[in-house]
Symmetry: D2
Subunit: 284 residues, 4 copies
């Protein structure tokens, strides 16, 4: 008995290459995370431990796939940008998409107990993923601006909403009713006048989301940006082990090893500063 | 600041529907499982605990997605067959592919300690996935025959190879050398004459792989097949909780609830018997 | 100067194979034929010469591509069915689609003066094309039933409409108004009572459209169907030259040449008779 | 009888949008034009009348589809560049591809007798077509450079080959043998020393191919390039009728109508000059 008479079924596996010379953005979204967060008692409006767990999974993805040059995460989603010229898995769509989604999922479950040590995971959490292809740098910047603007809108709303509920004693129905039709400045005002909260004093992680960048360790001088997470303690061991890679470049007749690392920021990526300081992200 | 000026980037998410009226087979493969099995000391040639873990993840997938009517697993891979008429996620390719791959991965990590309680998982294991579309029942049968024939070929080889190494004291190089060019009957003969092993007495799980079928509990009379795993203890609690679903059919003016369950077999799926007894798999 | 430094641009030509084992239907539609027919004074409601020109172009397509086993035409559209197992151009989508569309267009222009000798073609007429993939015979039959049902509906409406205008002296607005909301039997009744026309006596070409079938000349006995166009004079020379092909089959030690020809019918293809008499169309 | 029970077959027509923000190049190639040219006695190595017929068909395409900003033709092929932001037919792949291919074909047959008045067309000539998508201006330039480099290579070879055969009395086998392994400068030398032909004195149409550009008639001052076909007599009537379009722009409170026309050049498009003078081609 050989398999050969059945092997023709392999011919139904059609090629699925992604157009060369384009930027791939792979976005992962939590599936039914509303339920996941309520069944596991996530803190409202933001659970820092759960967000750090997301960041950890994202970092594992970036450490594994060196052609990812940028990632942005908020809430239960994460977006990864591959450099334009990547030839990972010959740019096969399904292979790239599933491998990254699987690794992110796996890391999330694997590291759950590190970030939420007192909360038993009740069932296997899942994510979906998709790849969106962008032809030019402008669209890539606008994609990430779109996600961070979304972060801002959602977080401001949630900050006021949960202040009204948790500190103001409002029912959730009342809180929604109070917020209906308000613009941004009015939400700031409610937070400030009623609860004494300056929105901008809220953690940058919540307001800006998480930004991972693959950066040269040396000799680039790192310019601290607003929201930079200097300590980054939770990942220290991981990054020491896994986030450095080397590229050998010829210099004056000897090889110089350029070292890269994956750095986490909670900074603005809508304006030009972030991008102007890192022109390599959108090149090559 | 609203997200609206950036929302045009959503237009780059192109539709990816799978052709209606076709059978989807979604296959998941372990990524770098050679390393995973050696780093975690899996038993050679087959580690029953690790295979049961794969089965558990597959069962979780079938319990979650009722339109999967059949699954076949061997080694570090699993194939899932969706019924032809499924409209899961409007047949969107990426959505189906990533959700299933993610759930499988998640369940694998989540349940690791249940099956390999004394082996600490060292890092997050990952899988890739792909969907292959088949237009007709014949190709679906041949696909599963292809995978089971592959199981047979690999398992027979491995059975002899590891007997030569573990019981015969051969080096791995010698063992490969002895097996080079041998046909099936010669491998049986080596097993029998040199090690007293009747290949057919080896566990059906190893020889046939694992076959999950969604079957009506009542009133169908279940015909036991060769290789049926009657006890199936590890999953009993799971199946009691999660594998039953109901379909309400009108019968003589009252509703009759048809109950389905997911059953595990280690039986032949190359011949006609399996399929003739379950005509519903390839219909609708 | 060589082209080699630019040849990388060929890598952007992505593969586009059509799923094996499926039926392709390629449909061609006239572009802006409302204008074409009015600028060239086509007879209303049906211009037999223009329809014969469409048929001629379709026959040229079938003579060129032997894997087309059936075609159906009405008004300014034509649908071609490829046999399921065709490997024409390795099933490359764009190649098949454009070559057939181009040949149909070319033949239409080339043969215009043969069918409309007194009408100068004022500008180049164009067609668009698409390929729809069907996995099973049922859907293929329903596709052709859909097109012929459409033929019937349109032709009945047009027959009454133009009788009202041309013989009844109604304005076109009145004619539409009279027909609004009428069902099929009422349209028959108007035709009969007001104009003495029995709808079923109208040419089968108009009522049924045109059906081309690739059929064995010998030794199959041809069963005449309702609507068979026996004379088919216009094409006689063409078919003698071009519509026969040969397949060599071994028979009792000698080669027997099976001869096929493309035959034109104006018959029903919604019921079972047509298909039952030609089982080969939906096989292989 | 309604068509409704069959209309579900329309669900098998899957969407096929082309990625937004990308450049589409649609290339048309003559099918079996080796046979076409020999059966109709085309002049070797270049038949100017046949090339003018190709140009005419290309011009008709550009006049019909205003979003085509550039076209390049040589031998039996033509490439059309759509501006990046085109929303023609909602960027549906099959619709764009077939409509353009059909119009090109139709125009070629329709205008045959204008360019080759003494040669009866023996059968319908056909073309195939494909769309290649490029994400950035660089690749678009390199695509057209690739095609023009190909023109040069082929034309130089053919010029020497046919001089050897037609003027030198060599057999075709000998001519190929003489040319085997020669580089560009050696071919120039053969032409010059043996036949007194200065390659650069050969018609620019043959050496450079045909370049159509959609250009503003006013107030842009047209800079004549090497190879510009100033007379362009054959098309004068056509271009007067069809090549102008208008775009209304606000200027000092009144509308100004910008007029565009399609101009034919036989100029270099590999270097920067052509592109620097027409920055609009690769923008928007």
């Amino acid at each position: 008995m050989t398999g050969s008479r059945y092997e023709y079924v392999k011919n139904f596996e059609l090629p699925d290459p992604i157009l060369p010379g384009t930027f791939m953005v792979l976005r992962i979204d939590g599936r039914a995370f509303h339920r996941l967060s309520s069944e596991h008692g996530f803190v409202k409006p933001n659970d820092e431990r759960a967000l750090e767990l997301m960041d950890h999974a994202a970092r594992d993805v970036m450490n594994e796939f060196k052609d990812i040059v940028l990632a942005f995460g908020e809430s239960d989603e994460y977006s990864f940008l591959f450099r334009k010229s990547t030839s990972l898995y010959n740019r096969r769509h399904s292979k790239i998409l599933t491998t990254v989604t699987s690794l992110f999922t796996s890391s999330y479950v694997y590291n759950w107990s590190r970030y939420l040590p007192n909360i038993a995971l009740k069932y296997p959490p899942t994510f979906d993923g998709r790849i969106v292809v962008y032809p030019s740098p402008k669209e890539v910047r606008d994609y990430f601006a779109w996600r961070q603007a979304d972060t801002h809108i959602n977080n401001l709303y949630n900050a006021v909403f949960w202040a009204l509920v948790q500190q103001g004693g409002e029912t959730t129905a009342n809180a929604h009713s109070i917020l209906r039709g308000t613009v941004s400045s009015q939400k700031h005002e409610i937070l400030h006048s009623r609860f004494g909260i300056n929105y901008n004093s809220i953690s940058a992680r919540f307001r800006k989301g998480s930004v991972f960048v693959r950066e040269r360790v040396q000799p680039v001088s790192v310019v601290p940006l607003e929201g930079y997470s200097g300590q980054n303690k939770a990942y220290k061991d991981v990054s020491d082990r896994a986030t450095s890679e080397g590229i050998l470049l010829p210099q004056k007749g000897k090889k110089v090893k350029l070292r890269f690392t994956v750095l986490l920021y909670h900074c603005d990526i809508i304006g030009d500063v972030f991008w102007d300081q890192r022109p390599n992200i959108l090149q090559e």
